[in-house]
Each structure stands twice: as C-alpha cells, then as structure tokens.
Amino acid sequence: MLDLFLNATLMTLGLALSSLVLGMILAGLLALGELSRFRLLRYLTISWVTLVRGLPEILVVFFIYFGVTHLLFLLTDEFIEISPFTAGTVALSLIFSAYASQTLRGAFMAVPRGQSEAAKALGISSVRCFYRVVLPQAWRHALPGLGNQWLVLLKDTALVALIGVTDLLRQAQLLSSKTYEPFTWYATAGAIYLVITLISQHCLDKMKQKTSQHIRTVDV
C-alpha cells in the first residue's frame, strides 16, 4: 500500500516539476514575445495567452491528449500514441506558462529603465546587463507570483488522473474502489498534497528572504 502511494507521489511530483521547467521556459518566451518590438509577434502572443487562460484547464488537458492524437492521425494517417504523462506535462506547462508569462512580464516592467541605462553608460554589454542587473531584480518581483502559480500547478496535476496517469488522486481512487475505504485513501492523498505544499511554502520563503536581503527591513 505504502509503496503504491510512494510511487503515486513521485508521479505527481515528476509531473509538477517537469511542467514547471517546461512551463518556465515557455513563460519566458511568451513574456519576451509580449514585450517584443514586432507588433505581429506581440498580437500573436497576447492572443495565445488569452486563449489558454480562457479555457477550462481540463479542456486543455483533454485537447492535448485526445485532440493531438487525432490531429496526428489526420496528418500522417498513422495512429501515433502519446503517453498520458507527456500529454499531461505539455498541457500543464501550457497552462502554467500562460499565467506565469504575465507575472514575468510585469516583473521585467517593474525594473526601472535607469537601471539598465546606468549599465549601458558604463560600457556594459546588453547581454551582461540583462543577467547581472535586470534579471536578479525582475526575479525578486516575480517570485511571489510564480510561487502561487507553482502551488496551483501542483494541484492541477490531479486533472491528469482523468487521462490515466496514476498520480496521487488516481491512486487514492483506485484503492478506494478496491477496499471500500474512501475516507482513508482520500485523506491520505490530501495529507500528502498538504505536506508538499508546506515544504514548497518553506522553500519559497527562504528564496524570498534571499532575494530581499538588500531591502531595508523595518522592525516593528
């Protein structure tokens, strides 16, 4: 029983973490797209983000899993199966990136222009300026929002149970119907989600402290 739950926990964590990594990369690209000089690229990115944010999460998951398989069939005339885990990761990272890109965009805009101008005036190249001056400051602005979106992502992984990934929720379901003890198993799953959330919260607080060390704190 325990090892079943351990596996399911690892599955949930694996889904959440790989969606986080992929989602952050996508979010970075979307944020750049929205801040781009090229109007067409800006419009396309904004429309995409609006579309994804406008759909129910479960619909995105179904669309990626069933829709893409169907699409591949129409295109290639072959039945190519994508694994539920891959489909889940792609769907979750699309959802995550649509929200996280907004946080990132806001964070970049919150860094005053004068900051990079000062670097420019000292002959520092724009690439170097980006990762030494702009990025660390944007990161501090983005962290609280991204932290929230991570917690939402963690719980959205439960949606993937519906396309057959044996994550925490699905494992609880399976055991409940086998043993007729739904309370025990759902409560166990809930407790595990809660523990992961608490650990995340703790790590986020630590990271926040680290990024805010230069801000004068006022003791009350």
Binding site: Q137, H214, I215
Partner: protein, 245 residues
Amino acid sequence: MGIIVEGLSKAFGSTKVLKNISFTIPRGETTVLLGASGAGKSTLLRMLNLLETPDKGTMSIADMAFNFNDSHNSRQLNKQACALRRKVGMVFQQYNLWPHMTVLGNLIEAPVVQGMPKEQATTKARELLERVGLSEKADAWPSSLSGGQQQRVAIARSLMLSPDVLLFDEPTAALDPAITNQVVEVIRELSHSGITQVVVTHEVEFARKIASKVIYLEDGHIVEDGSSDHFAHPRTEAFRRYLEH
C-alpha cells in the same frame, strides 16, 4: 583636447529637439548646461556618451571622433559607443545604483567585466569611496544610504573606469538643498584633478558654485556660451532673465 561639437542636430519624430548645436569645451573645465525644462539639455548631454544618437553633425570627445553626417553602420557605431562610454562617465538624477549589489559590488562591476583583476578593482573602489567620504560604507546596501550618500557612490562608480569626461544630469535635483553641498564639494575636488565635467542643472546657485564655463540653451539653440563670469555679466537678455527668475 576636450569636447568639440559641431552642427549637432536631433529630432524625435517631427519635433526638433536640438538645432545645429556647436560648442567647444577645453579639457579640465567644469561646464554647466542651463536652460528651461524641455530646452534639450538632457538630450544634448546624453549625446555626449551616445545614449542618444545625433541625426547630424560631428563630435570629438575623449580623443574619439564621430561624424554623423555620413550614413553610418549601426553595429559599428554601437561598438564605438561602448568604447566611448568607458572614457565618458555619467551620473544620473536618480543615482541608478543597482540595489541588489553592495556599494562595493556596484563599483567593481564594470571594471571587472572589462578585465580588471578583482583585487585591483576593490583597492581602487576603496580609494574612491574614501575620496567621496564614504569609506565605511563599502559593504552597505544602497537602500540603506541617504540620497546624498547614494549620489556620491554613483559618482565614485562612474570614476572607476578613470574617465576623461564626466557627465551629470541634474545630480542634485532629488536632493535636499542642504545635501547639495556634498555634491558641490565632490565636483570641485574633481575639477582640480583635470577631468572634464559637464553638468546639467536647474539650480542657478548650484551652477554658480561649480562652473568654470556656462552654456545656456533655449528651445534647442545655444543662446549664451562663455566663462563663469557670464553669471555676473550676462551677454544676452534671455540669459539675464533666466538668472533672475
């Protein structure tokens, strides 16, 4: 050789901000750029380190010559601008210190990127902090300093690359009048070291205290250009009126 500017013009869209500006600033002078809001002072100053690119004219500064009359390749210009900015420092109204780096970190960032060994940069930074009277603040965060202290750190930062020319855009506008004297002292001390300084300001009192030369701009034109005795004896009616208000 100091700064020689000839026929410099700049428009943003259809508004002509600078119209055929020419002047010469000998090496080692402290020149004050005065003028009403919107006269084009900041734009002119920012051209001197190519944060703005002139549309027309020629410019010779810190032993580098630029000609904007020919069509120029923007990549090439970008590279030259980078080299120029290492010899022409700039101090901003809002200090623009990087808040996530300590005072020392702010100072050594640019020289270390440009290849100075870290120990050497640190030694130099400590000397400069001492020179602006902040030697005990090396490890402080910028946000823990007062405005006057932050501005002196910003000046020290711009001196790290040993520039030939230092540009100031309203360095005291965000400061208490009482604190302004801290900046006056630093600028005076620097003027003895032979560095060429160009200072944009609104404050006539501050200008009088530091200037060895004055340029008065109105609506994108130079109206008055001369030594600091023009403060006592303005040659044009417009400058006299400006000093009086």
